[in-house]
Amino acid sequence: MSDSFNFSVVTPEQTYLDGEASMVVVPGIEGDIGFLANHANIITSLRLGTIVVTSDKDTNSFNVEKGFVKFSENKLLVVAEGIVSE
């Protein structure tokens, strides 16, 4: 199985998710971006869309309102204004 990296999603009200993932696809403002472990450092803003998280066990997805993503030191941080419940 591929390497995993730390992944967390924070919103103003709560820390929505905090865990390990092997692949995360986020809706970047200029197009979807996929993250694997050891991705280059990047900061980007998000558009409204779906984040897909793949970990060793399963695949999860949820929708975010606009926000920002930062990847550095093998850590993916998603700062979102809100999680849109389905």
Binding site: V10, E13, I29, E30, A40, S45, F68, K70, L77, E81
Partner: protein
């Protein structure tokens, strides 16, 4: 000689006051727990936001002509001060202490010939300031209808202020609120939010020296988007801290009031019993001397 009935009534009224203050203390304690939880759960977000801005703003040089939220304007004439107070009283020195901090700042700015504008969030601060500074108060934001503070409340306030900034209505903005340290201690805090004060310590900078970021779309576009958001976060944080502090202050104020009421009841009861005894003694003397006279 005080009337025994009057004393009795007075003891009764102090007792019922004590009941009220005790109940208020209990309510404040319950609300405090909730407010504290809300303040704590918002902390990761504001920390992450700060982290992001630090990463972006490092090495970023804005073109000097821009009016932006990061570096503000070269102008330093009009100051906007936002005061966070409560909607209700009976919370000790909570409102007056933070308002005093604000007043010092206002006097300081007036001495420097600056123009001051004030936005009051919460009615109590406005009540204190309106007599002296009514012409400076540009807006009063009513939070009475708000039961528990949401991010949207903060967004409504910050959207207004950010719009004012880009309309050129002020150059610098500071917020004043009570920071929640513990139930018995709330610290009146002044924080400059526009332009942002970035506190970066040395070791932190060294550690991140080698980190380099790609930006998508561009650095300035991201900053344009993230800075208003950061301002919202600061407002949100101030609101939550202020709410938690309010309940903490009310709780200790009501605790004091209950204790004072208890002391008062003890004193009054003692006085009541003494008077009662005096009345009995007096009656006995009257009877005895009456019997002797016969």
């Amino acid at each position: 000689m005080p009337n025994l009935d009057d004393l009795k009534k007075r003891i009764g009224s102090v007792k019922s006051t004590e009941k009220i203050t005790k109940a208020m203390k209990m309510v404040a304690a319950a609300k405090l727990r909730r407010a504290q939880e809300a303040a704590e759960s918002s902390r990761p977000y504001s920390d992450s936001m700060k982290d992001l801005i630090e990463s972006i703003s490092k090495g970023y040089k804005p073109s000097s002509t821009d009016r932006n939220l990061l570096t503000g304007d070269e102008k330093d004439q009009i100051h906007l001060l936002i005061l966070f107070t409560s909607e209700r009283g009976l919370c000790g020195g909570f409102n007056s202490i933070v308002t005093r901090t604000l007043r010092d700042k206002i006097e300081n700015l007036i001495d420097q010939n600056k123009t001051v504008k004030i936005v009051c969030v919460g009615k109590k601060g406005y009540d204190i300031l309106k007599r002296q500074y009514s012409e400076m108060i540009t807006e009063v934001i009513d939070m009475r209808a708000v039961k528990s503070i949401t991010y949207q409340d903060a967004k409504n306030i910050s959207d207004k202020v950010v719009k004012m900034f880009f309309d050129g209505e002020f150059d610098k903005c500071s917020i004043f609120y009570n920071e929640f340290k513990s139930v018995i201690s709330q610290i009146p805090t002044e924080q400059q939010v526009i332009p942002i004060e970035i506190i970066s310590n040395e070791s932190d900078q060294e550690r991140k020296e080698d980190s380099f970021f790609e930006f998508e779309p561009g650095e300035s576009e991201i900053l344009d988007e993230i800075l208003p958001l950061n301002f919202t976060v600061q407002v949100f944080k101030a609101l939550l801290e202020s709410a938690a502090s309010e309940q903490g202050a009310r709780m200790s104020a009501m605790d004091n009031a209950s204790r004072n009421a208890g002391d008062m009841i003890d004193n009054l009861t003692l006085f009541y019993n003494r008077s009662r005894q005096a009345v009995i003694t007096k009656e006995l003397i009257e009877i005895i001397s009456g019997a002797e006279a016969v």
